[in-house]
């Protein structure tokens, strides 16, 4: 895979097809864990890690196990089970061998199993890349896209943690306090991302 293609996929996933702000995936952690910058960064790091790992496992499963046996319809069940098992496994391994990393990422891992961005990116990759070229190159593209989606998630979380720090102290109308004002500010942040439309095409096109 060329460097150009790599950057084109990553930057598109971060800015144009941002998982949180443009595609509405992973909204629950975006609204729930974005109050503090520390927890926003920790959660995003765990998401990037699990996204890459989940793609690395589910993509070959779809290609070598499900598709040749005509079991494509089992995708949903197999993927969610693989992701759940994987998260558990990662937690156990981290706890045993890298306690320092477990201390910083561990708390976020169980929350990730039910994060729709993870299952979303696995299914998205299969839908958009599988069968378009030889397995090796599509697999690399799928992993790249997962990295980009994870980084996009991180960027949205970090940006929004900053925005939220300021909203908390503001005097919003009573019925807008809490969730509604948070969502309205997310809308404004989402508008900002429209500015990137076409930029990537112009740079790499």
């Amino acid at each position: 895979m060329s460097i150009k293609l790599f950057f084109s996929i990553v930057l598109t996933a971060i800015f144009i097809e941002n998982y949180v702000l443009q595609q509405f995936l992973g909204i629950c952690p975006f609204l729930g864990v974005s109050k503090k910058l520390d927890s926003a960064v920790g959660m995003s790091a765990a998401v990037i890690f699990v996204m890459l790992l989940a793609t690395a496992v589910t993509y070959p499963i779809q290609n070598f196990v499900l598709n040749p046996n005509g079991l494509g319809y089992m995708q949903t069940i197999v993927f969610i089970l693989v992701i759940a098992a994987l998260v558990q496994l990662v937690e156990i391994v981290l706890k045993r061998y890298i306690p320092s990393l477990h201390a910083s990422l561990g708390v976020y891992l169980p929350l990730i199993t039910t994060n729709c961005a993870i299952l979303g990116v696995c299914i998205d990759n299969v839908d958009s890349y599988m069968g378009t070229a030889a397995f090796g190159s599509t697999f690399a593209q799928a992993l790249t896209y997962s990295l980009g989606a994870g980084l996009g998630f991180m960027m949205a979380m970090v940006l929004f943690a900053g925005v939220r720090g300021r909203i908390e102290d503001n005097d919003a109308p009573a019925s807008f306090k809490g969730m509604p004002i948070t969502l309205v500010s997310a809308a404004i942040l989402s508008v900002a991302f429209f500015g990137f439309t076409g930029v990537i095409d112009n740079i790499f096109g």
């Binding site: 629950c28 807008f176 969730m179």
Partner: protein
């Protein structure tokens, strides 16, 4: 249980504990599939079907499933029903299947379904669980439908594909795009807070999150840790 409480269970999910607007669960499909009223209706119906089946089966199996592995068991059950719904829609309503796309398999990780299995169906009888599922399903569908109607009518000037005379020429197309989703959703929650919920909205945190059971309240510990780190 008396007749009144059965009605109570059924209507609970529609306004008082509306899964989307009051409990703030299942936000992803709410935002993503409400660009058109027909899509929202399809999403609501699909999620309701899965919720009904999963609640009934979780309730039937609540004495059989060991407590320690209940979450994986629920996920397998839910994933099976989602697959069935996917296949049914693929065969009989391809346009809906196509429009919902990625969000159809993602019903598996919809918090409402796992949340109701965990919070209601594993403690209550089959009939009550089914009623709860229907109530919650109607609440979810109605909310999606309201939101999609607002977004489609003002954003696109149509409703179920029918053109609306004046609005068709003066539509606010940003409402059908991503920012409009967040904005309309925020305003709807504010409206519900204003008119139906007297007490101020509680903070979004562990108490409203169905994953709290799975993570054992570790998120709360994490928030506290964040506070300490600050």
């Amino acid at each position: 249980m008396s007749e009144k409480s059965k009605v109570g269970i059924l209507t609970n999910g529609i306004i008082k504990e509306n899964p989307v607007l009051v409990l703030v669960l299942g936000t992803c499909p709410t935002l993503a599939t409400t660009t058109q009223a027909s899509n929202a209706f399809g999403m609501g119906a699909a999620a309701t079907a899965v919720l009904l089946c999963s609640n009934i089966f979780v309730s039937i199996l609540r004495k059989t499933i060991p407590d320690k592995v209940r979450i994986p068991c629920y996920i397998v059950l839910i994933a099976s029903f989602v697959t069935i719904v996917q296949m049914v829609l693929h065969a009989f309503a391809y346009s809906v299947y196509d429009a919902l796309g990625l969000f159809l398999p993602l019903i598996v990780v919809n918090c409402i379904i796992l949340g109701r299995a965990e919070a209601f169906a594993n403690k209550n009888s089959v009939v009550d669980s089914a009623l709860d599922a229907i109530g919650m399903g109607i609440g979810f569908t109605l909310t999606l439908f309201c939101m999609a109607s607002i977004r489609e009518i003002f954003g696109n000037g149509t409703w179920f594909g029918m053109e609306i005379p004046v609005l068709k020429d003066n539509h606010i197309s940003i409402l059908t795009m991503a920012p409009g989703g967040f904005f309309v959703f925020g305003c709807l929650i504010a409206a519900v807070n204003k008119f139906f919920v007297n007490k101020p909205k509680k903070e979004f945190g562990c108490e409203g999150c169905p994953a709290a059971a799975a993570c054992g309240g570790r998120n709360a510990a994490l928030e506290a840790k964040g506070a300490v780190a600050q």
